[in-house]
Symmetry: C2
Subunit: 232 residues, 2 copies
DNA sequence: GCAAAAGTGTTCAATGTACACCCATGC
DNA sequence: GCATGGGTGTACATTGAACACTTTTGC
């Protein structure tokens, strides 16, 4: 059955990969972790990290393994995003990919190039200035941004992106980066504080030339107790 | 790498299927279409319809094909649900399935058994009285109910389940069946009518022993214009 | 004292929720 | 005339949105 002049042998089985969109906030920008491909197809292009699923692991475990290989981060917000399976998404082969996305704290990150044969560089890229990407990875990143936005409107997933201690202004900035809108300072603070998910710390930032800001942390206990409510 | 005493050969490739949870409302019950398996594994058990993905078709097309094979319905609400890939979900083999769910009008349905070699019966089952199911299909159905509920709270997907002409009470019943709650009649009507998605018809039901009810249809023009808003 | 960011309340609009009675029909 | 489901409005609470000035600090 030919599409686009490519003849597919209907007997061949599909290959299945897991790709993970790993996001964080660095330097007031929402950034995504990309790897530079060493092999064809798309040799030299940037791509989101991914790999084949081992026969003995489930999809979540495969995504966690890829995440850990690249960042040595564990215990993070990871969610299945969507499965992309256009016959033409992977040149000369049929590869279906189950995409995941993860939000991680920049301070926890330890970027690693574990396999020089597959990947030459691992680097953060601002989502607003993405280089040309391999396969349909641009579409996958855009979809993960959309999903993150939807999630953020329901539950404070932003806590995964911030350092353990943060100011309300930093929290608001992370919301604004993800939602791509400006928010009203007073309304934002009112809403956040009314949810009882923040713990007020008796610590303040030490900055120069301006008023110190109070630090907060996420109250993991109330956050856990609201997990069912937030994540359903 | 053995799990549960099963040895997986890490070199073997995965198989990928698409399974479709097809839902409708019949006799005041939310029903799901099940097929009876003729072959092992799970011979004789009920399962949701599914099949292998052809190498030349994308995932949506595979789901549409399966839907059409079983119901000869086209043009319906179909959405990718989630991809299930536990190594143990399919006995003695690694089969990853990309699950879809569809909402269809009972009046449009023409159930078909297209392939007697794979399936012996095709039948609607109330979601509240499901028989034992093959594989992880119970989990998949539950997940699709949850997703339908979430969707219904955002947009009137229920229009896919009702006949073209319906009364407000019927519409309310479909909401109550999906959301598993009772709704206030006056508030429900107020909300529905304020959304401008219903077209008031100058027709009434002809029933016995009670006041006739006005019929409505969904205004597909405003519904389409709100598609971006509803489905994002 | 001034620049720079932190912090703080009120008003109004919109939306959701609770609630009870009359109406039209077939028998 | 009565049983059955159809149809209707108001009052209150909750939530979201708009909006501007004072405070603290380092220099």
């Amino acid at each position: 059955m030919p599409i686009n002049n490519i003849n597919f042998k209907e007997t061949k089985t599909h290959e299945v990969t897991v790709d993970v969109v790993i996001m964080t906030i660095v330097k007031d920008e929402l950034q995504v972790l990309l790897v530079k491909r060493v092999n064809e197809p798309f040799k030299g292009r940037w791509a989101i990290p991914g790999g084949f699923i081992r026969l003995s692991e489930n999809l979540d475990d495969a995504a966690l393994r890829i995440l850990k290989e690249k960042t040595s981060v564990q215990n993070i917000y990871l969610e299945q995003l969507y499965t992309f399976g256009d016959p033409l998404r992977y040149p000369n082969s049929r590869v279906i990919t189950c995409a995941y996305y993860a939000l991680i704290r920049a301070e926890d990150i330890n970027i690693q190039v574990t396999n020089k044969e597959e990947v030459s560089e691992v680097q953060w890229h601002s989502v607003s200035k993405l280089p040309p990407l391999a396969f349909d990875h641009k579409e996958i990143i855009e979809y993960s941004l959309k999903r993150t936005r939807e999630r953020l409107e329901l539950c404070p997933v932003a806590f995964q992106l911030l350092p353990k201690k943060f100011t309300l202004t930093e929290l608001q900035k992370s919301y604004e980066l993800i939602l791509k809108t400006e928010l009203d300072k007073r309304n934002f603070r009112k809403k956040m504080l009314s949810q009882n998910i923040l713990r007020e710390l008796n610590e303040y930032t030490k900055t120069n030339s301006k008023r110190p800001a109070q630090l907060y942390s996420f109250d993991t206990i109330t956050l856990d107790s609201k997990r069912g409510h937030f994540f359903s």
